[in-house]
C-alpha cells in the first residue's frame, strides 16, 4: 500500500466533499486517534496537565484563526475575550447555581455577543487600525476585570468549584484523566465544526472578505453581516476556551488574561499556520510545549552554562520571540505548510516535484 495517493478520482460531488479521501489519510487519522486515546494511560499527571492546557489553547486558537486567519480581521483582544468566557461561566455556576454545562453555553453566547460589539469598529477599520481598536477592547475588559469588585467579591481572585457534569463530580485521583477526556471531545468538536464552516458558504464569505472585500460585496456578500458573524463565531470558541479554563484551573485572576495572552495566541496561529484549522491545532500544542522544552533544555545545559538557568524567564521570552521571527521569515504559513510539504515530498518521491 502506497503511503500517499497518486491521484484522486471522484464519481460524485458528495464523495469529493469528504474530508478524507484515501486509505493512507484514513490510516493516518486512525493512528492519531489511537495515540490520543492511549495518552491518558501513559502520561503522568504533569504531562497530562500540559496536554489539557494545550487542548484548551487549541479551542481558543481555532477561534482566533477564524477571525484573523480566515476573515483577515486582526484581533489583539483574545485575552479579554477569554476573561469574559471564564468569569461568566464561573459566576453562573457558583453564584447563580446553573449546572456547569449550561453556564459554559451561557459563557459562549455572552462572549459571542461581546465579540459583536467589539467587532463594530471592524466595519470601518482595517489592518493596524483594527488591531489598535481590539487592543483597546482588551485594555477595557482587563480594566473591568481588575476593578469591578463584583467579579471576585473584592478578593482579587475567584475560586471555582470542582466541575460537576450532570451529577457526575470529577474526583481528585483521576482529575487530569477525566478532564483530558472532556477537553479532547470538545477540541475535536471545535475542529470539526470550524472545518465544516469553511467548506460551506458562510466560511467562504469570510475568506472572500479577507481576500477582496469590494469584490465580495459586489457578489452579494453583506460585509457588515459577514464581519460581525466572524467576530461572533470566533468569540464563541474563545468563550468556550475561557470557560473551560475557569473550570479546569479552578482559580481565576486578572493575570491570566493580559495582553501577553493575546500575543501568545497570535503566536500560536502564526507558528501553526494562518487560515488553517489544523494549523491552529499544531500551533496551540507547539506553543504550550515550547516553554517546557526550554526548561528541560535549560536543565540539561544548565550545568555548563549557568546563565541560562539563572535567567530562565528571560531565556523563555527570547526563545518565544525568536520562534515567531524564524517562522515569519522561513515559513510564514506555519507548521501546517511544513507538514504539507513533508507529505508532498513523500508523495513525489523519488522525484523532486
Amino acid at each position: 500500500m502506497a503511503a500517499v495517493e497518486t491521484g484522486r478520482h471522484h464519481t460524485s460531488y458528495r464523495s469529493e466533499l469528504r474530508l478524507w479521501h484515501t486509505r493512507p489519510q484514513i490510516v493516518r487519522m486512525a493512528v492519531l486517534a489511537v495515540v490520543v486515546a492511549v495518552l491518558p494511560f501513559v502520561l503522568d499527571n504533569y504531562w497530562l496537565s500540559l496536554a489539557n492546557t494545550a487542548l484548551i489553547a487549541t479551542i481558543g486558537a481555532i477561534g482566533l484563526n477564524i477571525l484573523v486567519g480566515y476573515t483577515g480581521q486582526i484581533s489583539l483582544g483574545q485575552g479579554g475575550f477569554l476573561a469574559v468566557g471564564a468569569f461568566t461561566s464561573a459566576i453562573l455556576t457558583d453564584r447563580v447555581g446553573i449546572p456547569a454545562p449550561f453556564s459554559i453555553i451561557g459563557a459562549v453566547v455572552l462572549t459571542a455577543a461581546v465579540g459583536v460589539i467589539v467587532g463594530l469598529p471592524a466595519l470601518r477599520l482595517k489592518g493596524l487600525y483594527l488591531a489598535i481598536a481590539t487592543l483597546a477592547s482588551q485594555m477595557v475588559i482587563l480594566f473591568i476585570v481588575r476593578r469591578w469588585g463584583f467579579l471576585t467579591e473584592g478578593q482579587g481572585f475567584l475560586d471555582v468549584s470542582r466541575l460537576e457534569v450532570f451529577g457526575f463530580r470529577l474526583d481528585r485521583a483521576n482529575f487530569e484523566q477525566q478532564w483530558y477526556l472532556i477537553l479532547l471531545v470538545l477540541a475535536i468538536l471545535a475542529a470539526f465544526t470550524a472545518t465544516n464552516l469553511f467548506r460551506t458558504g458562510v466560511g467562504r464569505s469570510f475568506m472572500a472578505v479577507r481576500d477582496q472585500d469590494i469584490a465580495a460585496s459586489a457578489m452579494g456578500v453583506n460585509l457588515t453581516r459577514a464581519k460581525l458573524t466572524a467576530f461572533a463565531v470566533s468569540n464563541g470558541y474563545v468563550g468556550l476556551a475561557g470557560a473551560l479554563m475557569a473550570h479546569y484551573t479552578e482559580i481565576l485572576s486578572w493575570e491570566k488574561f493580559t495582553i501577553d495572552v493575546s500575543i501568545l495566541y497570535l503566536a500560536m496561529i502564526i507558528v501553526g499556520g494562518m487560515g488553517s484549522i489544523a494549523g491552529a491545532v499544531y500551533g496551540a500544542v507547539f506553543m504550550t510545549i515550547l516553554p517546557v522544552l526550554v526548561r528541560e533544555a535549560a536543565d540539561v545545559v544548565g550545568g555548563a552554562v549557568p546563565i541560562i538557568k539563572n535567567q530562565l524567564p528571560a531565556v523563555e521570552h527570547g526563545v518565544f520571540g525568536l520562534t515567531i521571527i524564524v517562522f515569519l521569515i522561513f515559513e510564514p504559513r506555519g507548521l501546517n505548510r511544513i507538514w504539507e510539504r513533508v507529505k508532498d515530498w513523500f508523495g513525489f518521491w523519488p522525484f523532486r516535484y
Binding site: T193, N196, R199, T200, M207, D211, Q212, A215, A218
Partner: protein, 291 residues
C-alpha cells in the same frame, strides 16, 4: 425578462469627486437581451458609470433604475421578501416586473437584484480555488445559517452539492475544468479573466456588467473571450453591459453602443451609427480628422 424590454435606465447621472466631474448628466438605457457596449477614451468615466450602477459609487445626482422580474430575485433565499424598499409594480403582464432605484443601495443589495460584474483589474479571491470563487457567485442564492454549516451533514451538504451542480455548468461553459481546484492566484492572467466572468455568471444575473474583459490580451485571447461572451449571452440569455477599448470587438459583438468623453455621452446608437458620428470620430482621432 423577454428581450427588447427596457432593463436599465440611467437618467441624468452626475458624479463629482470634489471639483472633478467624472460623469455629467449621463443618460443611457439598456434593453434586456442585448449586448450594450460603453466606449470612450481613457478617463471618460466608463468605469465610474459601471461603479455607479453596481453601487460601489454613490452618484452626486441622477438615478439608475433597474427593472427585474420579481420571481427571479432571492431565489435561493426560499420564502418571499422579493424586494427591499417599495417596489412599484410596472406591468400587469403575466410576469411580475418591478422597478428599483439602485442609487440608494449598497453593492450587496444590487447584486441580490441580479446584477453581477467583473472588474477592470482582476478582483478575484486569490487564495481560494477556482471552484470556491465560483461558489461565491452563488452566495446570494444560498442559505447562510452558521449552525447548519457547522453541522455539515444535512442541509449544508445538500446545499453545497445543489449549487456545485450549477457552478459546474458554468465551468463547462467556460472550459475551466482543468483549473477547478487551483488557487486562482496561481493562474495565468487570461484564465483569471475567464474565472472572473464565470464567478459573475454563477450568480445567474439578469444583467452582467463587464469592465474591460479583454484588457491586456492578445488578438487570439480576445477572440476567445469574445466567443465566451457571445456564448454566455446566447446560452444564459443574460443582458450584458460591456466596457471595451478594442473597436473591432465592440463592432462585432455589441447591439448598441454608448460613447462617453469627459463624463458626457457624445454618441449613442448602433455600432454603425456611432462609427459615423462626427463627435465620436473627433473624440477618438482629434479635431482635424473629423473634417
Amino acid at each position: 425578462m423577454p428581450p427588447g424590454q427596457p432593463l436599465l435606465q440611467v437618467s441624468d447621472l452626475t458624479l463629482k469627486f470634489g471639483g472633478v466631474t467624472a460623469l455629467a448628466d449621463v443618460n443611457m438605457s439598456v434593453e434586456s437581451g442585448r449586448i450594450h457596449a460603453i466606449i470612450g477614451p481613457n478617463g471618460a468615466g466608463k468605469s465610474s458609470l459601471l461603479n455607479c450602477i453596481s453601487g460601489l459609487y454613490k452618484p452626486t445626482s441622477g438615478s439608475v433604475v433597474l427593472r427585474y422580474v420579481a420571481d427571479d430575485v432571492g431565489r435561493g433565499r426560499g420564502s418571499a421578501a422579493p424586494a427591499e424598499g417599495s417596489p412599484a409594480p410596472a406591468e400587469a403582464d403575466s410576469l411580475d416586473i418591478r422597478e428599483r432605484a439602485l442609487t440608494s443601495l449598497p453593492p450587496n443589495r444590487v447584486a441580490r437584484l441580479g446584477v453581477a460584474r467583473s472588474f477592470q483589474n482582476i478582483e478575484l479571491f486569490e487564495h481560494l480555488t477556482v471552484l470556491e470563487n465560483m461558489m461565491l457567485g452563488r452566495h446570494i442564492h444560498m442559505n447562510q445559517n452558521v449552525f447548519t454549516s457547522m453541522l455539515w451533514f444535512g442541509p449544508a451538504r445538500r446545499q453545497e452539492i445543489a449549487h456545485r451542480e450549477i457552478v459546474e455548468e458554468v465551468i463547462d461553459l467556460l472550459k475551466l475544468q482543468a483549473f477547478r481546484q487551483k488557487p486562482v492566484g496561481t493562474l495565468a492572467y487570461g484564465i483569471q479573466k475567464r474565472v472572473e466572468l464565470g464567478r459573475a455568471l454563477a450568480l445567474q444575473p439578469s444583467l452582467l456588467l463587464l469592465d474591460e474583459p479583454m484588457a491586456g490580451m492578445n488578438a487570439e485571447e480576445k477572440e476567445d473571450m469574445a466567443r465566451y461572451i457571445l456564448d454566455v449571452h446566447e446560452l444564459a440569455g443574460v443582458s450584458i453591459v460591456l466596457i471595451e477599448h478594442d473597436m473591432n470587438v465592440v463592432m462585432d459583438i455589441s447591439n448598441r453602443v454608448t460613447v462617453l468623453d469627459f463624463g458626457r455621452v457624445i454618441g449613442d446608437g448602433t455600432p454603425r451609427e456611432v462609427m459615423d458620428n462626427p463627435r465620436v470620430i473627433e473624440a477618438y482621432l482629434g479635431a482635424g480628422a473629423a473634417a
